[in-house]
Amino acid sequence: MSWQAVAEKDFRDALRSRLLIVLTVLFALFSAGAAYVVTEIDPPQQAAFTGEVTTFLLIVGLLQATAVFIPIVAIAVAYRSLAGERESGSLKLLMSLPNGRLDVVLGKFVGRSGVVAVALFVGFAVGLVVTASLADAFSAPEYIAFVGVSMLFAFVFVAIAVGVSAFTASTSRAAYGSFGLFVVFQFLWGVLAQGIAYAANGFSFEGIEQGDTIFNLFQLIQILSPTTAYQQGARWVIRLIAEEQEAQQAAADAPFFIQDWFGFIVLAVWIVVPLAVGYARFEASDL
């Protein structure tokens, strides 16, 4: 298996791109700015209630923004990963060496994930400084857990972008495909879930109550979006660390997919499935 060689090559190569520097700077500004906004300008409602901006509340506020920003960074870093090499012809060099097609797809995923991790790590480090100085009660473990789950979320979109990039031979189609999926997850998924619930309920919203089958279906579809799964997963982990009461409340007798940990299953699936689909198509195609 030579995926390590591909990953290392790819990491070195992509790390030197100007785009990465731009994205890292943007992300650093973003995470510092978002931390500032959440603490100073527009604190979460609960903070107004308790009069204290805790790390937990800060992160919950940040989650809205990172859920949009992280996928953009991940896709920008990864959408050209395979289609770009195919377009330029460097894929011929790559495939002339004893790299299997699976090695190439996995190596690309790992390499680009590493690159995105560097960008996020720098950005979050800046955010950490701002957060620590602004939050009333700063908890490093909570923030670190938030960074960890955010990385996982970034890897999901790297997997999606690499999968799409393996699927098509053109970089423009790879870009449309990846950003298209992002838009679907981010903006259309909720509407879609509502639509399905609406249709399943005989084309009406009447009579849907919390806990019944159609409501559960609606919740299941919602959490199948990586964006929702990320937010849910992050909240769960941070609550666990913060040992807030809600963590216990969410458990009880709710169905498994309402359980907060289910978000992680969803994220894992969204890493595996796009890579598998992209690989299957890449494996079957003439280069």
């Binding site: 390590q4 070195r12 012809g89 460097s90 060099l93 002339s96 004893p98 790299n99 003439d286």
Partner: protein, 302 residues
């Protein structure tokens, strides 16, 4: 064992039949030139060998392995200089070779390989600033990693200056002396003549000839021209020579006669001239230009 075995290989891209039943055997250790005009199917054949492209029909074996099922194993023992490739502009020459070493699991040192292709002074430079010739050299260095059993070079001379082309031939020869099989394609016969043991000529997806250069010449026939220098040309010489069996053409230019004939007629032609009273002061043989030979296979109805 044959290094490359193609048996009834067919490949179409949409309506275009790129390969129409190619049978080809390249012996272990030989230098094989693969010739054909652009678009004849050279690159498709090479792409099939490397599993970049999958044949619609036929069997493809490289180094005794199935080119499709065992492609990674094939490429572990093969060095490739692909056609129309690109480098990683942000990586240095040394990093490119190091990547090839990592991919092949070889234990080479990048530097001697770079030295071999004449890039020792550019080792730490990024490939983005390389000329076409340097790119070609770097890809060749990557191909040489791990002492391959088979070298596949697709149009290796493109972008090389005459000096670079000569160095390339030397490297090919050295590798072949080590027992490496070399398979390389070109659209110019002159480039392969100097190094190839045998050549194959492909035309419109079909292999039209596989032979040594000499064999090709004999096949095409009327290949060589006898140039005879005499003190004076006898009046009837042109007519008399033409009447000889095996002489196809006679041209007189001052005291020089150019006689196109079969090889075994050369002595007879000279004797005929002398019997007519001409004093032959010098004679030589010119072989048909390679371009004519190539054209005979790729253009005319053979």
């Amino acid at each position: 064992m044959a290094a490359i075995e193609l048996d009834g290989v067919e490949k179409s891209f949409g309506d275009v039949r790129a390969l129409r039943g190619v049978d080809l055997e390249v012996e272990d250790g030989e230098i094989f030139g693969f010739l054909g005009p652009n678009g004849a199917g050279k690159s498709t054949t090479i792409n099939v060998l490397l599993d970049f492209v999958r044949a619609d029909a036929g069997s493809v074996r490289v180094l005794g392995r199935d080119a499709r099922e065992d492609s990674v194993a094939v490429r572990e023992q093969t060095g490739v200089l692909p056609e129309g490739f690109d480098l990683y502009d942000r990586l240095t020459a040394r990093e490119h070779v190091a990547f090839a070493i990592d991919s092949k699991g070889a234990d080479d040192d990048p530097y001697p390989l770079l030295q071999r292709v004449g890039l020792q002074d550019a080792a730490e430079r990024k490939a983005g600033g390389f000329s076409t010739g340097m790119r070609q050299r770097l890809a060749l260095a990557m191909a040489l990693v791990g002492d391959p059993d088979l070298l596949i070079l697709d149009e290796p001379s493109s972008g090389l200056d005459p000096n670079g082309a000569r160095e390339l031939r030397e490297i090919v020869q050295q590798e072949a002396d080590d027992g490496t099989t070399v398979f390389f394609s070109s659209h110019i016969l002159g480039q392969v003549e100097a190094v190839c043991d045998r050549v194959g000529i492909i035309r419109e997806g079909e292999l039209v000839a596989v032979d040594t250069i000499e064999g090709l010449r004999e096949n095409v026939g009327g290949g060589s021209t006898l140039v005879v220098e005499v003190d004076s040309v006898p009046d009837d010489a042109e007519h008399k020579l033409k009447s000889l069996d095996g002489v196809s053409e006679v041209a007189v230019d001052g005291t020089t006669l150019r006689i196109t004939c079969e090889d075994d007629m050369k002595m007879e032609a000279i004797q005929e001239l002398e019997s007519q009273g001409a004093d032959v002061s010098d004679f030589s043989t010119e072989e048909a230009p390679l371009e004519d030979l190539f054209a005979a296979y790729t253009e005319d109805e053979k």
